[in-house]
């Protein structure tokens, strides 16, 4: 049984079809990359899966249960965690407190939440940030903290929305090893949206490509990288023309 099934998902914003009849499944333990040009509908898809947006039509099944009409917090409690593409920490929560909010999903006890948060921070090599306010940290660190917070809820599946965007290469490496740890060592199924192509291609088991709200391709990273439709959608026609020799 797949962990996540998305059947014919449609999401309209007024006249705009942000997600147009999207179907796919994710098996337990997979690491799925979700790519596509800006505005393709990737974030919208995450918002629908995680329950922040009501879907216009279609069905979402998570771990054998239909979650299509559940509220976001209910879906989170069933083991679906996520991060946000645009995250602005404005409050006064410190890093450890922020991660504790996630840990509080399964316990009322502050001591239990705290030790769980500490464990996750050290697993993600973030222990030295513990006492800082999230809002004081550079973006790269903030993104890793939000990942830690999502993980603190003890999810079965983690949706990562552009955690590597805007980071420098060494920061990208750090976050990548974080994602590998989550996937390999913690055994969490991961779906990640990423603009940094090499990152997606390097670590994904399978890649799904969206364009104008539609799923235009799905397959192994190698197949996807060579798919002219994908290259055209994702990189534009100019790129295809300029690199046509390499591609063939």
């Amino acid at each position: 049984m797949p962990l996540l099934e998305v059947h014919n998902l449609v999401k309209n914003f007024g006249g705009l079809k942000a997600n147009d009849d999207i179907s796919f499944t994710v098996e337990k333990g997979e690491l799925i990359g979700l790519i596509g040009p800006n505005g393709a509908g990737k974030t919208t898809l995450f918002n629908c899966i995680s329950g922040l947006h009501p879907v216009s039509s279609g069905r979402i099944v998570f771990d054998g249960e239909d979650i299509t009409s559940l509220k976001a917090f209910d879906i989170a409690r069933r083991g679906m965690a996520r991060t946000f593409q645009v995250y602005v920490a404005s409050g006064d929560l410190t890093v450890i407190e922020n991660v504790m909010v996630g840990a509080f999903m399964h316990t009322r006890l502050r001591t239990a939440a705290r030790s769980r948060a500490e464990e996750i921070l050290s697993n993600l090599n973030l222990a030295e940030l513990t006492g800082y306010r999230v809002s004081e940290l550079p973006v790269a660190a903030q993104k890793r903290v939000t990942m830690a917070t999502a993980l603190a809820t003890g999810p079965k599946m983690l949706l990562l929305d552009e955690v590597a965007a805007g980071l420098n290469p060494s920061e990208v490496d750090e976050i990548m090893s974080g994602i590998r740890h989550v996937h390999n060592d913690m055994g969490i199924t991961v779906m990640l949206i990423e603009h940094v192509m090499e990152l997606v291609m390097k670590i994904s088991d399978r890649v799904i490509v969206l364009d104008y709200g539609q799923k235009i391709a799905e397959g192994q990273p190698r197949q996807i990288a060579g798919d002219p439709r994908v290259i055209q959608a994702y990189l534009g026609e100019r790129y295809v023309r300029e690199h046509s020799q390499e591609l063939t």
Binding site: S50, G51, L52, K71, A72, F73, A76, R77, A81, R82, F84, Y87, V88, A89, S90, G91, D92, L93, E97, N98, M100, V101, G102, F104, M105, T107, R108, L109, R110, T111, A113, Y132, E136, L137, T146, T149, A150, T153
Partner: protein, 335 residues
């Protein structure tokens, strides 16, 4: 058990804070034993009353970031419940106070469930509106004395009456409300570290993120609003026994609601000491302004001007109020 331990655990504050707090508590404890004016006594009692209102407000308004400008309606429910039950049926404070809390909390659910569908300014305005509606209702409701209000006549009782909280000397009221004040501090100290406290801070930060962390945002707000309400209602009940003369116009005025929110914001919304600092500054200021200038014609509105000024200064300089400034000065920045 863990909750109790947490309530008495202030170890995340620097020693210097605890020393100052301890010294102030001792000072307040012995203050009535030294010669003092009735005016000073009344001012400190008002300080306790408004600190408690502010602590209540701070749960939803400070930690939760939901600016509530309608706390006076719950002062009214507490005060009227206690006054009506005492005057009509001779029911003592210690019974009427929890009844008042139940009624106030029930009312908070009635308005909390729909109002928390609103965001930001709309929520603030809606709380003002419900409070004014309730006040208008009380002004025409004969059962609670309509616009004349209710008067508790101390002659009928033999003070000191600890059951009905009817005293002749203010010193009794002083120590009763002081006890509530300390309980309030311990409660908030637990609250801010509780799961609900963390959830609220996450909600204040970002509601979508909070949802995605399994937090039922709407329910968390409604629950916290009920806690804030309970605080205010308890003190409202006390207020009735202490003032003995309650009218919708004083007890439930918009002024009270604004003053409660303002004090907490001035002192530091979302911090344990904020509302106390705010009350410690504004209450004496207000009392003295009224004493010195209030009688002078034309200057009655001076406190309103002052409030407006304070709001502007806070929002322009440090949204986290005086406590925010203290923390900023104290904080070591990374790198």
């Amino acid at each position: 058990m863990e909750a109790l331990k947490s309530a008495f655990d202030f170890s995340d504050f620097p020693r210097s804070d605890l020393f100052v707090a301890g010294a102030l508590v001792v000072l307040l404890l012995v203050f009535p034993l030294f010669p003092h004016s009735a005016f000073a006594m009344a001012t400190v009692i008002q300080f306790f009353i408004f600190s408690l209102y502010g602590m209540g407000w701070n749960t939803i308004g400070g930690y939760g970031g939901q600016v509530d400008l309608g706390k006076a309606q719950y002062v009214g429910i507490g005060a009227y419940t206690t006054a009506v039950m005492l005057i009509r049926w001779d029911i003592p404070f210690w019974v009427s106070m929890p009844v008042g809390v139940c009624l106030a909390v029930a009312w908070s659910f009635v308005i909390g469930f729909p109002l928390f569908r609103l965001k930001g300014h709309y929520f603030a305005i809606a709380t003002i509106a419900t409070s004014l509606v309730l006040k208008d209702l009380f002004e025409v409701w004969d059962f609670v004395g309509a616009a004349r209000g209710l008067e508790i006549s101390p002659i009928k009782y033999t003070p000191p009456d600890f059951l009905r909280l009817i005293f002749r000397e203010d010193i009794y009221y002083y120590y009763v409300i002081f006890a509530f004040f300390l309980i309030g501090i311990f409660y908030i100290n637990w609250f801010r570290k509780s799961r609900l406290g963390f959830q609220l801070r996450a909600i204040k930060d970002n509601e979508s993120v909070a949802q995605s962390l399994g937090i039922n945002v709407h329910l968390a707000k409604v629950k916290t609003y009920a806690i804030a309400t309970a605080f205010v209602s308890v003190v409202g009940s006390f207020h009735a026994c202490y003032i003995k003369n309650i009218e919708p116009e004083d007890t439930m005025s918009l002024n009270i609601s604004i003053l409660i929110a303002l004090m907490a914001m001035l002192g530091g919304a979302g911090s344990l000491w904020g509302p106390i600092i705010g009350a410690g500054i504004l209450i004496p200021l207000k009392s003295y302004l009224k004493e010195w200038l209030g009688a002078t014609a034309g200057l009655v509105g001076i406190d309103l001007i002052l409030y407006a000024l304070i709001i502007m200064i806070i929002s322009a300089t440090e949204p986290r109020g005086i406590w925010g400034i203290v923390e900023r000065l104290r904080r070591r920045k990374p790198n």
